[in-house]
């Protein structure tokens, strides 16, 4: 784990907390608070892995509560996208709770929002029926698939990629390589 190795000039530890809980039967909730960047993304990954392993064992859905997240970097996006793929491979959808611009803007501008079911609050996420698409996803049914196939094509090309308009489809090449961020 990189926590011990990373220098901490302020002596306060990493500014990210994660907590796994079971608010009701059939749901594993991962609550995330703080900043998700290069230094803290490993902690998010560990929390998400714990939540997903538990959900897989119990046959539950995972909800990731990002309402307390004040910053989301590409390293954090990569963790979330990896989680979405893991859940989708098992036939489900990863649910996110996100209402602040710090989280919704990165998801939207990269097109990654098509990979999740996103809710404004935890209550909505918990009460949603299994596999029901969010309002946003309902209007873009095939974009997640299209985004993944374009991403696979563009992945090795180092395509320059012009800045996308805020259209429905995810921009090509933004989804991360299967193996990780690869910085």
């Amino acid at each position: 784990m990189s926590d011990a190795a990373a220098p901490d000039p302020f002596g306060v530890g990493l500014p990210l907390d994660t907590e796994v809980s079971r608010p009701r039967p059939g749901t594993v909730l991962l609550e995330v608070d703080g900043e998700i960047d290069t230094a803290t993304a490993p902690r998010l990954q560990a929390g998400l892995d714990e939540a997903m392993d538990a959900a897989h064992a119990e046959g539950s859905h995972v909800v990731v509560d990002l309402t307390g997240v004040t910053f989301l970097a590409s390293s954090g996006l990569a963790v979330l996208i990896g989680g979405a793929r893991r859940v989708t491979a098992l036939g489900g959808r990863l649910r996110l709770v996100a209402a602040s611009r710090s989280v919704t803007r990165p998801l939207q501008v990269t097109g990654a929002d098509a990979l999740f079911d996103t809710f404004d609050d935890v209550a909505s996420a918990l009460s949603a029926e299994a596999s029901r698409p969010s309002d946003a996803e309902a209007s873009r049914p095939s974009d997640a698939e299209a985004g993944r196939s374009r991403a696979a094509d563009a992945r090795g090309a180092g395509a320059s990629g012009s800045r996308p308009s805020h259209a429905a489809a995810p921009p090509p090449g933004v989804a991360p390589p299967i193996g990780g961020v690869g910085r």
Binding site: A6, D37, F71, A73, S74, S75, R101, P106, S160, P171
Partner: protein
């Protein structure tokens, strides 16, 4: 940055930190502050903050651990230019632009460029990233 750029009457802010990920949040905060004061719209502020974080994280990753991360903001009406630079870990360090992070950076910024400078007499090799971000899509 050329003399002509720095003398056109606009503001320049420079931040220098140890090249460590733990200090990047401070540079992000400067980027947010400058964009907000330049009347960027909220999405553009978020994008610039994330782009500056991405650039700094990429450079810290490639930096010599004893290096300084130098980040210069040139604030103009409607646009901020950021130039970040570190001394590279090795003389032949090359920044990869075939990464998820780089593609996110291209999405966030209006324009982005990698800069490599070879070592010279009394100066180590450096790698840098220059990016531009406009204030927003809404005409003013």
């Amino acid at each position: 940055m050329s003399d002509a750029e720095s003398l056109d009457g606009m503001s320049t802010v420079e931040v220098r930190t140890s090249a460590t990920a733990a200090l990047i949040p401070t540079i992000r905060a400067v980027a947010s502050d400058l964009a907000a004061r330049a009347d960027f719209d909220l999405d553009a502020i978020s994008d610039l903050r994330m782009a500056v974080d991405e650039a700094c994280a990429t450079l810290v990753d490639a930096a010599d651990p004893t290096s300084v991360l130098q980040c210069r903001f040139l604030v103009r009406p409607e646009r901020i230019r950021v130039h970040a630079e570190v001394e590279s870990a090795k003389p032949d360090t090359v920044l990869s632009t075939d990464t998820f992070g780089w593609r996110v950076l291209q999405t966030l910024a209006d324009d982005v460029e990698v800069l490599h400078q070879a070592a010279a007499e009394g100066r180590r090799a450096t790698v840098g990233i220059r990016l531009d971000k406009s204030a927003g899509d809404v005409p003013r």
